[in-house]
């Protein structure tokens, strides 16, 4: 009997250490990013986060990360706009409507989408998807609706829109698989109750199932958003990689730059003694802060706005 309790306390200590190490990694990462970017923050201060110029040439350095923050937000927003309705639609179809025979293979293939390396998405994007988007979507939009500011500019396919589409494809498996779990966790009593008062199938799904699981669905969307914000390789291949004020995403058809693609592009060649390296680390710090901010906002929304019903997945 004494052996069991000592094993228990060892187990308790071990798991406590593992949990603490996760927090420790976050703290160390934040500290490293902060100390690495200090040279640049000391010189530019808050204008590093609000400025728009980016000039790494020695002797005339100016660094402003705002355009890349906007680029990240713009591509993620497009990815969510396209991806969330698709993902939740897929989840609803698979749980509520699909016969067993097709539910299993389709779920399987959607999960395979998540296993494809992001570089492959990038390569497919620059060699195939880009031309489809230019020919079938961007050129018609630009010809007929080009007077609307977000459709202005000559479309070349390497822009915010294509990056958003690729990101949408990449976040669909994440959001849809979590949503599937959420929707299948809705108790059947809820569904039967809806039918019993005469709701149609769509009314049942919309007013009962989705509202029951809305905090879980919101969590799924945040997961997908987290992936979209951090995605690097696929985005950097199709986003156009502009710098400075030219990177501010004023139109869907303009090239832009996200924070992660900027770092991936510039980090390797930045000479150690220059101010450029701390600038990239500073952009990394901004990216970390953005991820933290989104997660905190999501937590607040889930706990305050979405009342958690008994049994729903949080």
């Amino acid at each position: 009997m004494t052996q069991n309790t000592s094993v228990d306390s060892v187990f308790k200590i071990l798991t406590a250490i593992l949990a603490a190490s996760a927090l420790l990694i976050l703290i160390i990462t934040g500290y490293t990013l902060l100390s690495g970017s200090l040279p640049v923050l000391k010189i530019f201060g808050i204008s590093f986060f609000t400025g728009t110029q980016w000039n790494p040439v020695e002797g005339r350095e100016v660094f402003g990360a705002l355009p890349y923050l906007l680029g990240t937000l713009a591509t993620s927003a497009i990815a969510l706009l396209i991806g969330v309705p698709l993902s939740i639609g897929i989840a609803i179809f698979l749980v509520e409507m699909a016969p067993r025979a097709i539910r299993v293979p389709i779920s399987y293939f959607i999960d395979i989408l998540a296993a494809v390396p992001s570089v492959i998405y990038g390569l497919w994007g620059i060699f195939v998807l880009r031309y489809w988007i230019v020919d079938y979507i961007e050129t018609p939009l630009s010809t007929y609706l080009g007077w609307i500011p977000i459709f202005s500019g000559t479309p070349y396919g390497l822009d915010v829109f294509t990056a958003g589409v690729i990101l949408a494809i990449m976040i669909i498996p994440t959001i849809s698989s979590v949503s599937r779990e959420v929707i299948s966790a809705v108790p059947n009593s809820i569904r039967e109750g809806a039918y019993s008062i005469g709701a149609t199938r769509w009314e049942m799904i919309r007013n009962w199932v989705l509202s029951y699981g809305r905090s879980g669905l919101f969590g799924a969307v945040i997961l997908g958003l987290g992936r979209a914000i951090g995605e690097t390789m696929a985005v950097t291949m199709v986003i156009g990689n502009t710098v400075g004020p030219a990177a501010i995403p004023t139109s869907l058809f303009k090239g832009s730059q996200t924070m992660s693609s900027l770092i991936a592009n510039g980090f390797l060649e930045a000479t150690p003694a220059s101010l450029e390296l701390p600038a990239y680390i500073g952009v990394g710090l901004l990216l970390l802060l953005l991820s933290l901010a989104i997660n905190i906002i999501a937590e607040i929304m889930v706990s305050r706005v979405f009342k958690i019903k008994g049994g729903a997945i949080e």
Binding site: G59, F127, N241, L277
Partner: protein
């Protein structure tokens, strides 16, 4: 139970000792143990360096060289941290880096050239550009193909009225360093507004990753113009412009015109290996047949090798011999990979630099 465990452990230890002793005493005692050298740095010369290393290793079977192409910045950082035996960089060390890597030698091992590739559906040859017009295109002053500035240089070519899409590099690169150096020489407004760097504040255009990225965007999209390293332009058979050189001739980039440029540019005088190479300039070389946009790419090594932890006499000798081979016999690998061989006057300077490498104050044999 315990007895069986003890017997088992003893048997395993005995077998292991037996195998080890057999291998140790039966292997022939050779005086040559394997020597390993490490280097890291630029991606541009990697195909050539890799081929040279493989060829060298087949000749000198006891030497293993490991080159990691992580980028010039990473190579220079490794050199400053003394974690590698040699580094490779497309751009020479700047003043701040020379302080962090004191008494280091620049050894040009091959040559890079920047070609201006374009995609115009009906213009396949005979397209002329000059440095100042290129600067105006890439800075956004000239926006259409039939702009008077371009038309003035191409009076016998019909140019379309489409917008020019310029393609630059999204990643920091030695190719951009050479190209922007040329533009700074050709245009005062470029020099004051944008200057020279491995990456600059491009006001217009889109960026692609690597020479392959720029090549694929230019080839895949019409009415584009971009700059690519010679090897990629030749291997992908891209349409390139003929650039006007100081003698007034329109020169296409070929292995020959570039080697002429380096020979004549180097004859203007190069620093000694241990000097300051940050101002070295092969652009706009004087020869009438010289291509104007060329540059060295460098191997960087410390003059006194005992500053590197773990360096021994044997490894220092091997490194010196490898460097000597690279600038002599190794150069034969260059044309097949679309790199340009070092001309003889540059090889002479490299020889003097390599002969100045010492270990514990003693000069090292080069062959």
């Amino acid at each position: 139970m315990n007895n069986k465990i003890i017997v088992g452990i003893v048997v395993i230890v005995a077998i292991a000792a037996g195998i080890y002793g057999y291998m140790y005493y039966s292997s022939p005692k050779t005086s040559q143990t394997s020597i390993s050298l490490t280097g890291s740095g630029a991606t541009f010369p990697f195909p050539l360096l890799d081929t040279m290393i493989k060829q060298y290793e087949t000749q000198k079977t006891n030497v293993l060289i490991n080159y990691q192409s992580i980028g010039s910045g990473g190579g220079i950082a490794a050199l400053e941290g003394k974690t590698v035996d040699f580094a490779a960089s497309d751009a020479p060390l700047g003043a701040a880096d020379m302080v962090m890597a004191p008494n280091s030698l620049h050894i040009p091992e091959t040559i890079g050239a920047v070609t201006i590739a374009y995609n115009l559906p009906n213009v396949k040859t005979g397209f002329h550009l000059s440095g100042s017009v290129i600067a105006d295109i890439f800075s956004g002053k000239v926006t259409t193909w039939n702009d008077p500035e371009i038309q003035a240089l191409n009076s016998n070519v019909t140019l379309p009225s489409n917008n020019i899409l310029i393609v630059h590099r999204s990643d920091g690169s030695g190719t951009t360093f050479i190209f922007t150096g040329y533009l700074s020489l050709s245009s005062d407004s470029w020099k004051s507004a944008l200057g020279q760097g491995k990456t600059v504040a491009w006001p217009v255009g889109i960026g692609a990753n690597g020479n392959t990225g720029v090549a694929s965007v230019v080839q895949g999209t019409q009415y584009t113009i971009g700059y690519v390293e010679l090897a990629y332009a030749l291997q992908n058979k891209m349409t390139v412009a003929a650039i006007q050189n100081p003698a007034g001739n329109w020169i296409l980039p070929t292995l020959n015109t570039i080697q002429i440029a380096v020979q004549s540019g180097a004859s203007k005088g190069l620093p000694a290996g241990g000097g300051d190479w940050s101002g070295v300039n092969l652009l706009n070389a004087p020869d009438p047949q010289a291509y104007p946009i060329v540059s060295f790419t460098y191997l960087l090594v410390y003059k006194e090798l005992n500053v590197i932890p773990g360096m021994t006499q044997d490894r220092a000798t091997s490194l010196t011999q490898f460097l000597w081979w690279v600038v002599h016999d190794g150069q034969a690998n260059a044309p097949g990979l679309a790199y340009v061989q070092l001309p003889s006057n540059v090889v002479q300077i490299d020889e003097a630099s390599i002969k100045s490498i010492t270990f514990n104050g003693q000069q090292l044999p080069t062959s």
